[in-house]
């Protein structure tokens, strides 16, 4: 095993996982609700890129369309699935977010196809380069770079902008944040929009590994994001990032060490380790903000 190769694998997988997890936890932190339709934001982004693939636009424009549609789908999730029932009950919201997820998947099945559809990718994504003595796919380096940039932007947004600070306030004490004059709907829609931005970015990187999109593509990222946030700490943004990289470390280590015939059971090993981590730290590795009543 080459250590450079290993580190590159962990960082590129971890970067994607961390972005997935952040997109889920940004909404969870404020509403204390898991958005089950999160994976479908990735799906929407993938199909958007497929639909515009014949347009002849430069690839970056097509990728931009994918991200914009993921943001739009994120905001639509708020308006259609969350807002109408938010004040009623937690169960109602969980059900509507499930329903919204199923609706989007079925729309893809019905109007596009159950079979994989090719997504345009720049030629660069399939190339490899030699980096520090190892041969590695360029898209892994792109993933690392994009993750670093996105995490940087995200951290700046949450630390230094009025909206970001208001969102952090709302995540610790939603009622008090509203009593500062911070509009609840603005904060929630912003969280969904950021969630969509992260999902759209992840979609490009994630689909870049396989090159196709299917209606069920969102399930794995949702699961990854969920596990990463659970081990990192559901109520902490840095925790989501830590959880993402840790999960990538576990997955990559297992990929490197498990014998070939056990590799198909990798997820079982991963989950066992996750359970061990949770036995050790039931609240996740990074504790959330001190006060944390629900709305």
């Amino acid at each position: 095993m080459n250590p450079v190769q290993f580190v590159l694998d962990v960082l590129s997988l971890g970067g994607a996982y961390a972005l997935m997890a952040l997109g889920l936890v940004i909404v969870y932190g404020i509403l204390r609700l898991v958005n089950f339709a999160y994976g479908e934001l990735i799906m929407v982004s993938g199909y958007t890129m497929f639909l515009v693939s014949g347009s002849g636009f430069p690839w970056l424009v097509m990728a931009g369309c994918g991200v914009v549609m993921a943001i739009a789908a994120g905001i639509a999730t708020d308006y259609l699935a969350f807002r109408p029932v938010r004040a009623k009950s937690v169960t109602a919201v969980l059900i509507t977010s499930f329903a919204f997820s199923t609706l989007l998947q079925n729309a893809a099945l019905l109007f596009i196809s159950p079979r994989p559809r090719a997504v345009p990718l720049p030629e660069l994504f399939s190339r490899t380069v030699e980096f520090a003595g190892v041969i590695t796919p360029v898209r892994n380096l792109i993933t690392i770079a994009v993750a670093v940039v996105m995490l940087g932007i995200f951290s700046w947004l949450m630390r230094s902008t009025a909206l970001g600070i208001a969102m952090r306030a709302a995540a610790t004490n939603f009622r008090m944040a509203r009593m500062m004059g911070i509009p609840a709907n603005l904060i929630i829609s912003a969280a969904f929009a950021i969630s969509g931005l992260l999902a759209g970015t992840v979609a490009i990187l994630w689909i870049g590994r396989i090159g196709t999109v299917v209606p069920g593509i969102g399930l794995e990222p949702l699961l990854i994001a969920f596990i990463a946030t659970v081990i990192g700490g559901m109520r902490s943004l840095p925790g989501a990032v830590v959880g993402g990289f840790l999960l990538a470390l576990i997955d990559t280590s297992l990929n490197y060490t498990l014998p070939q015939d056990l590799l198909k059971f990798r997820d079982a090993f991963t989950f066992s380790l996750v359970i061990l981590i949770l036995l050790w730290r039931p609240e996740g590795i990074v504790r959330g903000p001190a006060s944390g009543q629900r709305t």
Binding site: I165, A169, M180, G181, P289
Partner: protein, 237 residues
């Protein structure tokens, strides 16, 4: 300025506020007294829009604002400091103040000016402005939440038990501050357990019991009415 008419608040089967009517005129400091559980906080939070009123009317300068959201009430000039003294513990003191001015984001110069004014009144907040607010003592947190509420430049301030659980010297500081806020012309509705100190700075007072107003009058009269003391002093001697 603030007119409450037949306000009712219920939590499930618990009828916390049962037809409360009260008024606060412009520039007045009015205290709401009452034993624990009388419904004072529920009244205040219903006015602030943080708790839903099940019946009744809230009027601000004649406009019906019943059922307005908390963010809307702030924009209309009503700032509230709940008794839970909720600082945002992970945000710095300066960021907490900045959030108080969320509705004034377009007036950065004014916001900075106000923040500096609060810093001169509370040098301790200036000293600790870059620390997480969760690190402050109880008294400092109380000063912070009041200063934070003032950052929205409210015309009405709702204060819920600002002296709760604080050391006597800090209590005096808080009451000095309330006095000077009143002198600056701010309209204040104050809920207090410390009746003597509250009545000393107030113009008028209401006494609540079991969700109803039992008595009202000029602060000096309420303070002199010995028969009322058992109502708001609870079990205290």
């Amino acid at each position: 300025m603030l007119d409450i008419e037949s306000l009712e608040v219920s939590y499930g089967a618990v009828r916390a506020v049962r037809g409360v009517s009260l008024g606060v005129r412009k520039g007045e400091l009015v205290t709401l007294l009452g034993a624990n559980g009388a419904g004072k906080s529920s009244t205040l939070m219903a006015i602030a829009g943080a708790v839903r009123a099940t019946a009744g009317r809230v009027r601000l300068d004649g406009a019906d604002v019943t059922g307005a959201t908390p963010e809307n009430m702030v924009r209309r000039g009503v700032a509230a400091v709940p008794e839970t003294r909720d600082v945002f513990p992970d945000l710095t003191v300066a960021q907490n103040l900045q959030l108080g001015a969320f509705t004034r984001r377009r007036d950065q110069a004014g916001v900075i000016h106000d923040r500096e004014t609060h810093f001169t009144h509370f040098p301790i907040l200036a000293e600790r402005q870059h620390l997480p607010a969760g690190n402050l003592s109880g008294g400092e947190q109380q000063m912070l939440v009041i200063a934070r509420a003032l950052m929205s430049r409210p015309s009405v301030l709702l204060l819920d038990e600002p002296s709760l659980g604080l050391a006597p010297i800090v209590v005096d500081q808080i009451f000095d501050m309330i006095g000077s806020l009143k002198d600056s012309g701010l309209t204040i509705l104050l809920v207090e357990q410390n009746a003597a100190k509250a009545l000393a700075v107030s113009d008028r007072a209401y006494v609540m019991r079991l969700g109803r107003i039992e008595a009202e009058g000029p602060a000096s009269e309420i303070a002199a009415a010995t028969e009322l003391k058992s109502l708001y002093l609870g079990a205290e001697p």
